[in-house]
Assembly symmetry: C2
Homo-oligomer: 565 residues x 2
């Protein structure tokens, strides 16, 4: 079926020009752009009355799991913001469910009015301390390369491994390159000779640049730079100089991690362009980064432009500078009309795959005793100190009196922390102390704990900890807050323990209630407790982290005992 | 083995900047670029004393057969001009030898210090009138796609077929695209809706643009433009406006067809850049077209830049504006030093493959009688009229008196022309008359006759025609000039009847002797007889051509009789 979008002001992403033109679409594709098309060329004619037409936006690097939404619900949240494709790294679900997690993401993103490309997670598990649900070696990834939506190998976080020529990681990189595909980088602050080594191994881009100078070095050395504007990590302001040539054409826009409330309220890639425009940059430069230049990064030949033969992923804009999106076309089909999302028919996930990702909790019920630390008397212990708005933690060595509440000391803000292995019923757990939360009562538990997503708990007493943890276990994953023997709020994340099966609005709402109930426990407003908890067990971020095997001294990359002596 | 090129002025093709830096090479690859490398990083250190370092040049579209050289000899002719890779369309040898021709080009370009990429010929045979040595359908091409040096489908000349949705040509295009590869275009002067249809079918570029306006339309519609500067077709002057943004980054430099003397005397891609510089353009823009932007056209991720991980195809320039090339590195190995080509070890072609392309002449010996036209009396006949310096020919209807020399009339410059099928001993031949050569005695014969490369002969008498033709037959292909029963000059082209097995200098020399002896026959200096003859049997160029089936009225695409009545 042929549709003519008549009287558009077409943004040409190849040249940066705008031109008055009609756009002819046949089925999924654009087949003509120019002023010589007439109503007779199409079965349906839509007059856009001079409004801007540009290609749909692509997010070049995102972990959909960070939105806590399934791919279809994620699509529902971002399509009206003009996102018609994303390149997703299913790192979280793969850490929980392995290959089944990747298959789930591929299948759950079939038949939605958005294209979800997949990069294969390169670092599952992330570190040797991690007890994840799965380990993916190069051979495990191989079968996925034949899938048409698989575009390469996802962020190679293990840059020390690359530089040290670790065989397994080099094998994964080589495989992607031999398939003619790209390999995403992740190497914050790497520079000079070490950066050369990392890039020479075959790493095509980076999304961790936090200064224009860092980004310029990457571009000069052939990498493309992904300008990241997510919920937590925001690099756009620092990277505004890249919105000029000779840098701009080697850049794309990505979100990395974005929370549902943020997606709903502020937007997605459209918001990144808007922020650049507010800072004085040309909106067309932002649009080119979000379309053609993103597609080029991944070697996609027919996505990201309004030109013959290209996928008909198109936006009609009411306003260019404000990136006000009126209509969205995805693969030739209008999915947003006058700002309103149109309905589409869901496809069904294969029941066996659905079961595989839904039943990821393998853990026996917890009791108060599980959180008891079998020490007596007073000992100098390593306490993890949280820092508001930061992912890094510090070590604080404090005298702990185990005779009194097994060491919990609310006056000194010393709470108990536990990380419980929950994938394979190993019984492994790490127990210790944490300060800096301000919590005065109750407990919180969560299965969102990077990168292995074991069960993490923080509490003022073992009874509420056990209650909060058991509720997460019953839900098959999620976040809970317990107070005085009752669950006062919860967010079920039954899919791999990291994703909800609810809508973005529902998840945003549950998340807000969790926040409020956490503050009831005494946690100050400025601390995002669940976000902080999500990084307390990730032993690649300095300085002191808790894992299922106990405390990890990140700087020295070794397990350390709770007691200092 | 590690080599350090010390103290370079490195041309950065990503940004257009130049920077003072050292370049570290390990085996085939560049592994570092920067100012922090020292002599200790390499086993061998070469101080380039501030000279410019840029990537080796790539010719994005060439028919190596037009140089009449084998791939190794072609490499010998162009490497000192800085060409480290070419994208070749083996259209001519494929028309003669089919798949064996493509295999020969792939194998003959192994282990030479230059990378010869191959595009698979899309139009073998070229037209329905052609009696070529082979026909290649989509299935024939399939097996070649797995070869790492095959980059896609070569120029789709049959643009009417694409627009008319001819199934066979669309199948070939689809196959290339499904392999993730590119498809080259060839559609001179196509514009507007028809151009949209052609591009939408999946055609990524064009090398036939003869005006900047034509090229701009292509770029706006997503094609890349190949700026052609060959021996016959030269579009650089007309396309000079493309050496500025926003056009330049969508352009590359190609030669299409280039003769050996031209390659030796003037150069190759280096000369195209030089000419642009002389016209006031920035040499770095030319270098970017000849390197990174060419590689991008073909989706090559590690060719065309001086950056970590890229192939160590590098040039050291004595002078930037003059593109004076001092040293050439190909895959990390220095192959030109101080302007001198260094020797390398030849690899051997498989004997069976060599035999397959060497024995392409299947034709019985010719006699005078073979050129006799069995008419009596005087008839109005269609005579082909050659036009100096043009490929088009005209029809001249003239009274021919067959009683006198079987129609040959030197006073009116009416000679005999014959095109003899020589691939399959079919005995097919076209006989007729040609004017415009000025030849007063003798005859000339050639097996270089686009696109089917049958035996073409022009002569003042049948005896010399048979002699010239039989000599070509004995040589297994080539060009000859006969006078008074003697061969007065010849150029053997034993490989498919289109390529020599001699060096570029020898071929250029033979070619010059052929030219001189043709003038002995009376042909004026301004007429390149053998080049004109090469296009007299190509029934896609207007207006009147001779084929093995007889005269073709190109405009009406039909066979016509010699006699007008």
């Amino acid at each position: 079926m042929r549709i003519l979008l008549k009287n558009g002001t077409v943004i040409n992403v190849f040249t940066g020009e705008t031109e008055q033109a009609h756009v002819l679409i046949e089925d999924e594709k654009i087949i003509g752009v120019g002023d010589s098309y007439t109503d007779e060329d199409a079965r349906e004619v839509r007059d856009v009355q001079g409004k801007y037409i540009c290609p749909g936006f692509m997010d070049g690097h995102i972990h959909i799991e960070s939105s806590m939404l399934t791919p279809p619900e994620f699509a529902r949240a971002v399509i009206a913001h003009g996102t018609t494709s994303v390149v997703a790294d299913p790192h979280e679900i793969a850490n929980v469910c392995g290959k089944a997690g990747i298959r789930y993401m591929l299948e759950a993103s079939e038949n939605i009015p958005m294209t979800i490309y997949i990069m294969l997670p390169s670092c599952v598990s992330a570190t040797r301390f991690d007890e994840s649900g799965a380990v993916l070696v190069a051979e495990d990834l191989e079968s996925f390369y034949s899938h048409p939506r698989v575009l390469g190998l996802a962020e190679v976080m293990d840059y020390p491994g690359v530089i040290a020529e670790d065989k397994e990681i080099l094998k994964k990189i080589r495989a992607a390159r031999e398939h003619g595909l790209t390999v995403n980088g992740h190497a914050p602050l790497l520079s000079g000779k070490k950066l050369d080594q990392y890039i020479a191994a075959g790493i095509g881009d980076d999304h961790e640049c936090s200064s224009a100078e860092e980004a310029r070095e990457r571009i000069r050395k052939g990498q493309r730079v992904m300008i990241r504007q997510g919920t937590a990590a925001q690099n756009l302001q620092a990277l505004l100089p890249l919105f000029e040539e000779p840098w701009a054409h080697r850049c794309l826009l990505v979100s990395d991690d974005k929370h549902p409330a943020d997606l709903l309220k502020k937007g997605h890639i459209d918001d990144a362009i808007r922020q650049a425009v507010r800072a004085g940059k040309n909106p067309i430069t932002g649009i080119r980064m979000a379309t053609l230049w993103a597609a080029e990064c991944f070697g996609l030949r027919n996505v990201g432009a309004t030109a013959p033969g290209y996928m008909a992923d198109l936006l009609v804009l009411d306003d260019l500078a404000k990136i006000k999106i009126r209509d969205v076309y995805c693969r030739g089909r209008r999915v947003v009309e006058n700002g309103w999302l149109l309905p589409w028919q869901e496809s069904h996930i294969r029941p066996d795959l659905d079961r595989a990702v839904r039943n990821s909790f393998h853990l026996d019920a917890l009791s108060e005793d599980d959180f008891h630390i079998p020490y007596f008397g007073v000992h100098m212990c390593r306490v993890i100190r949280l820092i508001a708005r930061q992912l890094i933690t510090e070590e604080w060595d404090a005298d702990i009196d185990f005779q009194k509440d097994n060491g919990i000391d609310l006056e000194r803000d010393i709470l108990k922390i536990a990380v419980v292995e929950r994938h394979k019923r190993t019984g492994h757990k790490g127990l210790g102390f944490i300060c800096g939360t301000g919590m005065k009562q109750g407990a919180a538990a969560s299965s969102v704990a990077h990168d292995s997503h074991n069960l993490i708990l923080i509490g003022t007493n073992e009874r509420d900890m056990a209650l909060a943890g058991n509720r997460v276990r019953e839900m098959g994953g999620g976040c809970t807050v317990a107070l005085n023997g009752e669950i006062i709020s919860e967010m079920p994340l039954p899919i791999g323990g990291v994703m909800s099966d609810c809508s973005a609005a529902a998840v945003a709402d549950q998340n807000e209630r969790l926040r409020q109930s956490v503050h009831l426990l005494g946690v100050p407003q400025e601390l995002e407790l669940f976000m902080s908890m999500a990084f307390v067990s990730l032993p690649v971020i300095p300085h002191m982290k808790m894992t299922t095997r106990g405390l990890v001294d990140v700087n020295n990359q070794k397990l350390v005992s709770l007691k200092c002596d």
